[in-house]
Structure formats: C-alpha cells, structure tokens
Amino acid sequence: MQSETEAQVASPRDVEAAGVEIDGVDVSYGAVQALRGLTLRVAPGEIVAVVGPSGCGKSTLLELVCGLVEPDTGRVRAGAAALMPQRDALLPWLSAVDNAGLALRVAGASRAQARAAAQEHFAAFGLAGFERSRPAALSGGMRQRVAFLRTLLAGRPVLCLDEPFGALDALTRLQMQRWLAGALEREPRTVLLVTHDVEEAVLLADRVALLSPRPGRIVELLDVDVPRPRARDARAIVELRERALEVLGAP
C-alpha cells in the first residue's frame, strides 16, 4: 500500500523522467572551477557510482542533478531527484518516523499522513520499535537507514546519495553496503552514488565513474558486469577495484 506521492513515481523504464543526462558541463564557484566538461549518461534504473579524490567536485555533480546548482555551460537533464546529504541531516528534534516522512510533509501531507506512510517501512528497514526515537538515540547505521528511507519516500525516480556511509565504522559500513544493495533491488531507482570507497563503488554499482582531481571530469567509466549478489573477494570485483585505484593514481 503506497502513499499517493509514492504512486506518482515514474516507472524506471521512462527515460525522460527517470534518467540523467549531463552534457559537457562546467561549474565554477567564483574563481574555483569544480567541474569541467563533464559528460555522463545514466539510464533509468541504473546505479552509477562516482569516485574521485576529495575536492574533485563529486558533491557538486549531485547538486547539479538535484537542480540546486546551475551549470555555467553545458546542459543537464534529469528526472526528479532526491538528495541524501553527506551527513544524514536528520532533524534532531523530530522522531525517526517524522524524519523519514519529511519529504511527504514538504509535499503537503499532514503530520499524521506522513507518519503513517513512513511507519510502514520501518520493519523492512530494520528500524522496528524505533519509530519514536530521536536521532541521538539511534546508532550511526540506523540513522543512515532513516535518512535513506526519507530519501526514498520523496517518491522521486532519481536518488543522489552523497557518501552515505562515509562516517560509519568499517564493520557497519560493510553491513550497510549489503543492506543498500538489497534495498535497491526491492525498490529499483536511478542512483548516483558518490563515494570515496572504491570497493563500495564496485560492489554496488552497474558502472563506476572515475573523476579527475579538480576541475573534475570523467577520466574513465568502468562497467561492472558482475551478477548480484556480489562478493568482495570475487576475482572480477578485485580486478575492477585494482583498475579503479590505478586510474585514480593510488600508489
């Protein structure tokens, strides 16, 4: 039973409304050029990971897709996108369920409606029993899951995830990667996943875009043609990881 806003999500097969097309885009902030001549196509339902050194403009890329930033040159066409910021941006004064339903409230739903819609998914997200908890009472992994649920409930075909697991410890990160893979299988979306973890990119994405240092542009696009579920130690995965690191210039 989906809420009304969710039902309006375009099916991932609809290219116009669910894909991302970035053509030769330049973005500058004052004297600093964040992106230069960046071109990227993401098909509906595809998961593309964006990896690069810090400061290479990964977050700017997401902001471009979400419509928060206009390119200086070039063109961006994307379906409606929901952003999951780098730090979970959970509002500390709202309960978990109210945080999850934030997008619905902004869209005009009442507090009760938003809560009801969010509540349904709590069990599936491993958050059962924590509906009324405040973010401060949740573990890091749980907070990320609430934030991801919030992002999903925005009901948009494109998801822009900005280093969703960056602040988690290694163990939690592994668990969350597995969890995310499963979640995206249940709810397929067009996903742009920014991460600094090369292995994570290879494990989760259909393709991996490797960005140069600032001003960022795509240096190489790796196809991850490995069936899911993927194992960290599978040879194909390891090879791809090595290739990516090589391109990025890691020692």
Partner: protein, 248 residues
C-alpha cells in the same frame, strides 16, 4: 555545596560586622535586620513585588514578540538585515537611566512606559541570539529541504526555527536576568508602586533595612525569572544537540 557554605560564611561575617558596631546599620543593615524588615513590611512590599513582576513579565513578552518578528525579518530579507542590525545593536547601548525619564515624559506614569523600558533592555539579547540561531541551522538540512523544493516558509518552519530554539532560549535567559534592571530604572523615573519605587522611598527615609529587603526581592525575582525560562527551555528543547556519529 561549597557555594552554600561560602554564602553562609559571608552572611555570618556580615552579621558580626554590624553586630559589633563595625559599620552603621543605617548604612549597612545586618542580614537579620534585612529579613526582619522583609517580614514586617511584607504587606507593603508584596504589592510592590507583584507590580514589578507584572512589568517585567509583560516587558519580556513584548521583547520576545518584537524580537521574534525582527529576527525573522532580518533573516529572510538582506535589505532589512542591513537596515535593522545597527539599530538592534544600538538598542543595547542606550543608557536606560537617561532614556527612562524621556519615555515617562512621552508616555506618562502608567504601565506602558515601564513595559517599554523593560522591553528595551531585553530586546537585544533576545533578537540577536534568535537571529544567530536561525542563521546557524544545519546547512545540510537546508540543502535537503531545497532539494525537496520546500518553500522559504517551509524551510523556516521545519528546519530553521526549531534549530534556532536553543540559541533563542539562551537569549531569553540573559534577558530574564537583566529585565529586572529595566523595571527598576523605569520605576525610578516615575512610579507609584513597585520594588524600585519602594527602594527609593525607603532610602529617602533612611529605612535602609527595608531598602535592602526590596533589593533582595528584586534579586530573587530575577533568579525566579531565569529559572522559569530555564525550565521552559528544558520542556521545549528536549532533544540533545548533534554530537558525532555513533556505532552500528
């Protein structure tokens, strides 16, 4: 505990000083004399306490109302911010003892000028703290709302205003502590009742113990006000501020 003992020691020393003739009780009455005056003159001081409390509470409320409007206006409009910020800061620099007689001149001897003066004293801490709180809302949360196509009003209501509450309460507590001063100056400039007025009359008749008793009540009033605001804060700001990320 230490503080209580220190206070007790101070009071004993004070009592002894006066008791042994070290200082004229007309200049500095002993603590027991002050408490005696507080009890004996209670029928006199009680309505004065009520009057001053009324002025202070109304003035604080007025400052909160005006401060909220101005802080939000400055937050939403850069033009207003440029225009109003110097005035807000200037309001703090206005010497209340000098302004008070002028306000009385214009507004008379009633309640209005006193409320206005208390509001003037409270206005700056409330407004500036609320304004800073609004500005300091989490940037990621704001970006998130923008990406959800939230209106300016929604951003204010859902993120900025709640985020500003801790800072706002800081401002309110500061204001509560100094509001009493505004009321006293206002009463000194022209009043028929109130603790400030009682203080003046008592001094004029060398009723120093009563004057001290009135001062003690003013002090307790300020503390009670601060405490009330702190209590309110605990009820309203019932979330812990962001710390780091935890474990699994």
């Amino acid at each position: 505990m230490i503080a209580a003992l220190a206070l007790l020691a101070l009071l004993c020393g004070w009592e002894a000083l006066v008791g042994f003739g070290g200082v004229d009780p007309l200049l500095l009455p002993a603590p027991t004399q002050v408490l005696e005056a507080l009890w004996e003159d209670r029928s006199l001081l009680a309505p004065d306490l009520w009057a001053t409390t009324y002025e202070v509470v109304l003035g604080l409320a007025a400052a909160v109302a005006a401060g909220a409007v101005l802080a939000i206006a400055m937050h939403l409009s850069p033009v207003l911010r440029r225009a109003l910020r110097p005035l807000v800061i200037g309001s703090q620099a206005v010497p209340v003892p000098v302004i008070a007689p002028l306000v009385i001149l214009v507004l008379g001897f009633g309640l209005a000028p006193k409320v206005l003066l208390v509001a003037l004293v409270c206005f700056f801490p409330i407004t500036i703290n609320l304004y800073d709180g609004l500005r300091g809302a989490d940037a990621d949360a704001r970006r998130l709302l923008r990406s959800l196509q939230a209106s300016r009003w929604q951003a204010l209501r859902l993120v900025e205003a709640p985020a500003a509450l801790p800072a706002a309460f800081t401002g309110l507590k500061v204001a509560a502590a100094v509001a009493v001063i505004g009321a006293v100056f206002a009463e000194w400039a022209g009043a028929e009742r109130g603790l400030g007025h009682a203080l003046l009359t008592a001094n004029g008749q060398l009723e120093t113990a009563r004057a001290f008793a009135a001062t003690l009540l003013l002090f307790l009033l300020a503390i009670a006000l601060y405490g009330a605001c702190a209590l309110l804060e605990r009820r309203v700001v019932d979330w812990t501020p962001r710390t780091g990320h935890g474990g699994p």
